[in-house]
């Protein structure tokens, strides 16, 4: 299935990646090329096959619901591009 320019624009927005209009045709082409490679999967009979969720059959481990970490606010904020008063700062979200 080919991806048209509108779909490429929509996918870029869903992925939260700014793509200039001028680059959308090339992007649509590349994505279409990759998708047509994936079309081969339609040749396989997958009836009755469960989608794999884990390579090793295992039940995810459980542990007691207790606090194991904490009091590391400075450490968590240390790499933030903009941290103020103990918080991550972002542009205004709510008017």
């Amino acid at each position: 299935m080919a991806i048209d320019i509108d779909t490429a624009r929509k996918v870029a927005h869903l992925a939260r990646i700014a793509v200039p209009e001028t680059r959308l045709p090339a992007l649509a082409d590349q994505l279409s090329g990759i998708l047509s490679f994936m079309e081969q999967l339609n040749e396989v009979d997958v009836s009755g096959i469960e989608p794999m969720t884990s390579v090793t059959p295992m039940r995810l481990k459980r542990r007691a619901d207790v606090v194991t970490d904490g009091n590391i606010q400075a450490s968590i904020l240390k790499n933030a591009p903009d941290a103020r008063e103990g918080f991550f700062a972002v542009p205004k979200v709510v008017e």
Partner: protein, 495 residues
């Protein structure tokens, strides 16, 4: 000039324990080699102060006796591993300036054993690439050349810095990670050994995630014995990784008996690709003959869904990547774009990610977003996961017939020139992983062992695939192949 940097882990360990050399001397030899190898662009963050401090501590431990195998051994660490206080940016501009406040489990295991960190190694951005040409640090150059031809060659990817550094004797060994072949393909392109362990053998905690159901870290070393030694230290059960296996880690080195008499080696017919170069065919046949001479039985086998491994991989891996890389939003760490007047939070995300991610990473995030989007989830993602189940079943059926290991080529060719694939489509580049992705999809251990050369004198490797959790047995098969092939070549120093 000291040549201590050319030692294997095993030889250095024995010399360190005998107090014939010190870790400080060994580390100094590596740091000097690194300083003289800027042309390879393998080490991108050097940590000489840490290295000196760790080397002195290792020497004290060695003097006290009873030091572990890796005590005092200088290593390179792929930039994908978080190392406390040291830049760890997955070769991406989006993590520029990021210095983790924590240490990955794998590197912690190495430091606990007394290993020495020389610095961080170049790689493809977020481990997405097969030629180390997608790095924000620029290309890595392979120390090998085509005879007298000075064309710079790729070391492979994504662990290209690790491969180049080990092949050029800048470090005794390095860590790598492998999601679709990123340890084995660069090992093959540089004439070294690389093993991807069984999924769950090595903790993923603190390793920047690409595709969580496929990612696995492993050692890249000069010999199979070194791989056995280093894997034993990297592997552990880790409560911080819910997919880490609660299994004892055997003494892999002790399992290198060199005896594979009576073992059954499978040769999968589907790996004989159309248009396979004659020299790869010959390498493969020679490898099978070596194992037969060592007393193994060679058996023709079939893995019927092999053809579908690459397309399934290029659905599953980008899907998981699009989800994992959603965390790079310019809020908690790394790069944030400069915003214009009136820009809100959505523009902040979109501009940050457009500036921070390179072209290949953007492409894979968008493919992943598409195959997971409403209306296409079943057609692509679920279908790929079903095909993945069939690929795994192929292997299970073969192992159920008593096959001990599977022998295949590691790559479709020797190392190619940097830039030679510039005009190729993304899919053509993906074909580099044709022999290695099946192993990740099935969660199996796989190892690349150098066994010969192409017509231009470049190294070529074979891959052995083992049973789940059978790394010890797999390493022993690789050990036999290594000894029989007698590959001992080193690139002529030009850098």
């Amino acid at each position: 000039m000291s040549t201590l940097n050319t030692l294997t882990i095993a030889a250095a360990r024995d010399a360190l324990r005998a107090r014939e050399i010190s870790s400080v001397e060994l580390t100094e030899a590596c740091l000097t080699a690194i300083d003289g190898a800027g042309a390879l662009n393998a080490f991108v963050h050097r940590t000489p102060e840490i290295a000196h401090a760790q080397a002195r501590a290792a020497d004290a431990r060695l003097a006290a006796g009873e030091a572990p195998s890796l005590c005092g051994i200088p290593l390179g660490i792929k930039d994908l591993f978080c190392t406390k206080g040291v830049a760890s940016q997955a070769a991406s501009n989006i993590l520029k300036g990021f210095k983790p406040e924590y240490e990955s489990t794998v590197t912690q295991n190495l430091w606990d054993a007394g290993a020495v960190m020389l610095g961080k190694l170049n790689m493809d951005e977020f481990a997405m690439g097969s030629s180390n040409e997608t790095s924000c640090y620029g290309n890595v150059v392979n120390p090998w050349r085509r005879g007298d031809d000075t064309t710079p060659l790729t070391p492979g990817g994504s662990s290209g810095g690790s491969a180049s550094a080990v092949a050029a004797d800048l470090c005794l060994a390095a860590t790598g990670t492998d999601t679709g072949g990123s340890i084995r393909q660069p090992a093959a392109f540089t004439g070294i050994v690389g093993i991807k362990p069984t999924y769950g053998r090595v903790s993923r905690w603190g390793v920047v995630a690409f595709a969580s159901s496929l990612d696995q870290a492993g050692p890249m070393t000069k010999t199979v014995r070194d791989a056995a030694i280093m894997l034993g230290t990297m592997a552990s059960h880790d409560a911080k990784d819910s997919t880490s296996a609660d299994l004892a880690v055997p003494d892999f080195e002790a399992m290198l008996t060199g005896d594979i008499r009576g073992k059954k080696i499978g040769i999968p017919k589907e790996y004989r690709m159309e248009g396979m170069p004659a020299e790869i065919e010959r390498l493969w046949a020679d490898g099978a003959a070596m194992m037969r001479e060592a007393g193994a039985e060679i058996v023709d086998i079939s893995l019927p869904h092999t053809k579908y491994a690459l397309p399934a991989y290029y659905v599953v891996a980008p899907a998981e990547a699009s989800s994992n890389l959603a965390r790079y939003d310019g809020v908690r760490y790394g790069h944030r774009a400069k915003l214009g007047a009136g820009d809100g939070i959505t523009e902040m995300y979109e501009k940050t990610r457009a500036e921070g991610f390179g072209a290949e990473v953007q492409r894979r995030i968008m493919i992943g977003t598409y195959v997971l989007s409403a209306g296409f989830y079943d057609a692509y993602y679920n279908r790929a996961r079903k095909v993945r189940a069939l690929i795994k079943r192929d292997f299970e059926q073969v192992f159920a017939t008593g096959i001990d290991a599977i022998l295949t080529p590691a790559t479709p060719s020797a190392a190619f020139g940097l830039g030679e694939m510039a005009d190729a489509s993304p899919v053509e580049m993906y074909l580099n992983d044709v022999f290695t992705v099946t192993v990740n999809l099935a969660g199996l251990p796989g190892i690349a062992v150098p066994t010969g050369y192409d017509a231009k004198g470049l190294p070529l490797a074979l891959q052995l695939i083992g049973r789940p959790w059978g790394e010890g047995d797999l390493l022993n098969h690789a050990y036999v192949l290594e000894r029989a092939a007698g590959f001992s070549g080193k690139p002529a120093k030009w850098w």
